[in-house]
Subunit: 304 residues, 2 copies
């Protein structure tokens, strides 16, 4: 039974509470975001997705991106990133002081057109321009491949299509890659299969994974990704990111639930579990409704 691969010794968790976690919530004041940010920073997390430089009319909850960015230098120990969907967004993020941008490309045409009004191939073709804009300012670029397993419009995404985006990103010199289960339909076997399929083309470029717990399998997928060698995972405090109009419908995997699972598996993470649970309480107050986090209710287990 020694078939199981070794787990990595350490996994980097990027907290995406402020961007993916808040983007579908009713807009909350900048002061509440900064309170949440401080609580998340107190967990010891090293990376945070702070906001997105996209159309304020499409994502009103993140319309304060530049104002928020101006506050980030006070949290000197954290690497902040911002999501962008176009060269113009990348320029705005960099002008606002961000040192790391994420360019999101949907591998599926249906989602790509609905999300950014361009085909997947058109969005992919812009990767070199985004990388050039970022690298000209010594800014790091991560390419996130959205709908990497399924698209809400097109159904299952061809792994070849994901590989095409990965290839374009690697060839363009992207600093990091991530694969995202945008609608929370992935399962561990498909997660492992896709990572295996991409691995030879990715070579040494760091690969992250981003899961939603929409169908309850988010942590199972995260564990499958880590078992397949992924050492970067996105998560949100409290499982922020669920639809506020469907109580209990999960958003991102909850940072604290992920920390519990990884720590219990002998994988080191920078995030303190007690501080993450405390941050989830702050998050719950900030958005004004219950969050789906399991640890927020159940607490740590008896030992430790």
């Amino acid at each position: 039974m020694s078939q199981r691969p070794e787990l990595p010794a350490h996994v980097d968790i990027r907290d995406v509470s402020l961007r993916d976690g808040l983007q579908i919530e009713r807009p909350i004041p900048l002061s509440a975001k900064l309170e949440l940010l401080a609580a998340v920073a107190a967990t010891g997390v090293r990376e945070m997705e702070a906001t997105a430089f996209v159309s304020p009319s499409k994502v009103p909850a993140l319309a304060d991106a530049a104002e928020l960015a101006a506050e980030l230098p006070q949290f000197a120990d954290i690497e902040f990133s911002a999501l962008v969907a176009s060269p113009n967004g990348a320029k705005r993020a960099i002008a606002a002081g961000l040192r790391s941008v994420e360019y999101v490309v949907s591998a599926a045409d249906g989602h790509s057109r609905a999300n950014v009004g361009r085909s997947s191939a058109e969005a992919t073709a812009q990767i070199p321009e985004i990388v050039a804009i970022a690298h000209d300012s010594d800014v790091t670029v991560e390419v996130i491949i959205a709908t990497a397993w399924d698209c809400p419009f097109d159904g299952p995404t061809s792994p070849q299509r994901v590989l095409d985006v990965v290839s374009a990103a690697v060839d363009a010199g992207a600093d990091r890659l991530a694969i995202a289960d945008t609608i929370g339909t992935a399962t561990p076997r498909r997660v492992a299969d896709l990572i295996d399929r991409l691995r030879p083309r990715i070579a040494d470029v760091p690969l992250g994974a981003h899961f939603h717990n929409t169908r309850g399998a988010g942590l199972a997928c995260a564990y499958a990704a880590v078992s397949a060698g992924v050492t970067r995972l996105d998560a949100s405090i409290g499982g922020l990111g669920g639809c506020p109009f469907a109580p209990g419908a999960s958003g991102n995997i909850a940072t604290e639930d992920l920390v519990y699972l990884l720590r219990d598996s002998g994988v080191h993470v920078d995030v303190d579990l007690g501080a993450a649970i405390a941050a989830a309480q702050v998050a719950q107050r900030a958005v004004g409704h219950d969050l789906p986090s399991a640890l927020l209710r159940a607490g740590d287990r008896i030992r430790d």
Copy 2:
């Protein structure tokens, strides 16, 4: 990356809604139980844990065990089992017509004393008597090892202690075994490690696993168990079994969430996903509060 073991072609799901799912709820009428039972039966599930023959004063929600048992013959396609905690309980279950009993033994002393007023060793010592009582009536016996990973009183359970109970059950001629994460603290690595540790002693006796989603890792643990060769899993419709006074606190892993994950992984199950979601709606009405199932909210994914 071909290190990953093959998944089994088929997994048997035992629905435990009526016993583990309902035991901490306020008692509901027998008619409501039968409505739920019919809905669960309509999913195609082949095995159900129907009730427990234990002290009615300790578990008032299951005080109607004999009356419920009298209704079971109308569901001829399902193998029903009942949980027992003593030789007397086994006799009562058999007298009520059950053809399959589960004898639960806590591997940890703290939980064993709190649950049945006996040490783990004392409960283990009764396995041969229970097996004899059952086999004298051609009734199947499963020994369930509770607190197989952690005890709420004693902390982590020694795998050797679990192995001791397993050995006693195998030597006594138990027909089946199961390991239970009673308080929902297990994680996939520890699940796989324990199964590997037990496997040589279990030999060909069928092994099941029973998880709670209390800390969000229930499906991850179930997938780890299946990946380690387990082909029998307990689950409850809707994730019944959570504490009704802590909304959202999960109980058993939800049957429909498990079906989604296994089916999507290419593992065959007898349970129809749509019928399981419909049964979860019946369960939610029966208990009068929201259930934590993910599929109940999110539905099946776009394909299929």
